[in-house]
Point group: none
Chain length 190, copies 4
Amino acid sequence: MALAPPSKQRAKSQATRQKLIDAAADEFRTSGYFNTDTNKIATRAGYAPATFYKHFKNKLGIFLAAYEAWVAEEWRALEAADEDTETLIRTVLAHHKKHLLFRTDLRGLAATEPEVKRYQNKLRREQVKRLAELAPDLAPKDDDWSNPVFLLLTMERVSDAIADGSAKASHATEAKLIANLVELINSLRR
Amino acid sequence: MALAPPSKQRAKSQATRQKLIDAAADEFRTSGYFNTDTNKIATRAGYAPATFYKHFKNKLGIFLAAYEAWVAEEWRALEAADEDTETLIRTVLAHHKKHLLFRTDLRGLAATEPEVKRYQNKLRREQVKRLAELAPDLAPKDDDWSNPVFLLLTMERVSDAIADGSAKASHATEAKLIANLVELINSLRR
Amino acid sequence: MALAPPSKQRAKSQATRQKLIDAAADEFRTSGYFNTDTNKIATRAGYAPATFYKHFKNKLGIFLAAYEAWVAEEWRALEAADEDTETLIRTVLAHHKKHLLFRTDLRGLAATEPEVKRYQNKLRREQVKRLAELAPDLAPKDDDWSNPVFLLLTMERVSDAIADGSAKASHATEAKLIANLVELINSLRR
Amino acid sequence: MALAPPSKQRAKSQATRQKLIDAAADEFRTSGYFNTDTNKIATRAGYAPATFYKHFKNKLGIFLAAYEAWVAEEWRALEAADEDTETLIRTVLAHHKKHLLFRTDLRGLAATEPEVKRYQNKLRREQVKRLAELAPDLAPKDDDWSNPVFLLLTMERVSDAIADGSAKASHATEAKLIANLVELINSLRR
DNA sequence: AATGAATGAGTCTTCATTCAT
DNA sequence: AATGAATGAAGACTCATTCAT
């Protein structure tokens, strides 16, 4: 009969898990999911390859965990910045800039891996709700969340385009794009 | 110095190249770039693995060619559908729906492969111009293309979200999202 | 931080490495570097292809390791045979005879791979020093090692020519060539 | 019944053959046999890959042809330089310097390809004879060519070592090595 | 005589993952 | 809990060579 592990071991295990996630997040963010290998993640975190598999089912597993942490971080940042519309937009933008490659992989994996997709949908729902809380006049009517969703998608896409330089390459300016976003928000608030 | 090859041979070579591109596009669209291997592309097109490399420098090379064909196809569709705003939006949507996975790979590769990025920027510039031609009141002032770019990005992102089901999963409706797009277009036309 | 591995595991790893080197040396010696592939080396040593790359960076890496072993073997043989000049020559000759193909590859690789060249130069310096120790009257004056180098080169070349049969094909006899070498040594000892 | 080809065609064919050899020799000399591919040779000479195989059985075939040309060139150079011993040595040295990589490949191929070996032996015999003609007091007695062979081997090896930089790397000087060669020649002339 | 198209058979190398300790 | 050793299963890319024209 296996006893519950003493809390000390459990704590240690949690710490290891966290170190692995941190290492993975960093690798994913800078090299991308497909250019990262699990052996490298483990080594970078200070462990042997096999240790990785004691804590995560597979590479996708740690990606999901990193994703979760990523969302939590974004929320924390947003809550700290709910003053006015533009600050909020800039906060999102900064976050996207930092995690551009990660977000790209996320979309890529969502297209292939149902598990990622499910998780992504779940998180997006929560995100939309939060957005609606931050700007209550965006709240849905009759459970039709189209407006906040539309806004969220646009913010995401514009942020990405600014972050990856393609906006500039198309002769669009950051200032004007943000102005457009603000205008959009205002128009959606009836 | 080799003479210009007889046109018959040249035609054959072109046909082979096209068959390879078609096979690759199909594979990319249904299995994704990273799950497709060059040997399979060649085989599927009816050739030996080595033949692939007579026509393309590497896997990325054929991706670029497929991308080019993809854009051409979209333009053809758009030109045939320039009647009214909504038809246009629906055309883009249909196109994105069909090539969802391809577009995802495109973004992923753009983040890692400078060559893809360059090509993407170039094509986007042309796309923005075309858009401005279709809706002349979107034309830029002072070479600031922010408005058409903003529109294009939003259309892209919303189309993708509808196509991949995440819009629906977030309780947004296709009809309302399209309505939002139409509204956005109208608001951008000053 | 990973602890130092238990010595048992370390020993096992060393054994694997050694088995790979032995297999490679044998393949190189009998089939030549360019006709040997890493998968075959691994299989021959009783391992899977991937195991090879846990122990060596690439094919060149194991060649260098085999080279090192080869030199060590020659030195051991020479030390056991430092009685008189002719025995020494015959020892070198026997060694070259056995490793003819290996030596040829070595020269070929030295011409193309800077890493091999560097290593070769380093080992040759040590070899020359050893030779000067064995025959102290060959010691250099004013750091000019031309005499022992000249001797070493000649010994090498003549040994190779005897070993590969080209001496005989040119109607030279082994006995006379060795006599010439002995004479050369005597003349270099002033 | 195939007629003998008109001499015009034959001349053209010869010219093509020569262009191929020149291109191959250049590639072999600068990139080495194993880094040269027949398609590149043909292209460099201004022909299509298949043309290569109209003129040579295979890659080895053109190597042999290039080897033949190489020997002829060396002989021409030596005949022009038969004045004194040192000039002769320096001529050999210069030739080896230029064709270092080629010579290395030659030895490598001789170890694997019997055809190369046979050819090499045949040419060396002639070379030894010529050497004996240039320095009649080196002439063999009783068909024992050991002396000129010994000299030739030593000259070759020392030349190579000077040419590839390994002599210098071993702290031997070119001047002293050449002096040693001259001395050796004098000692062999009884 | 020359060639463009095509290829069979490799060959190196990678990486997520497992297992005995 | 952690790990060192090992691997199965690919997958991108190369090259000497042939054949129909």
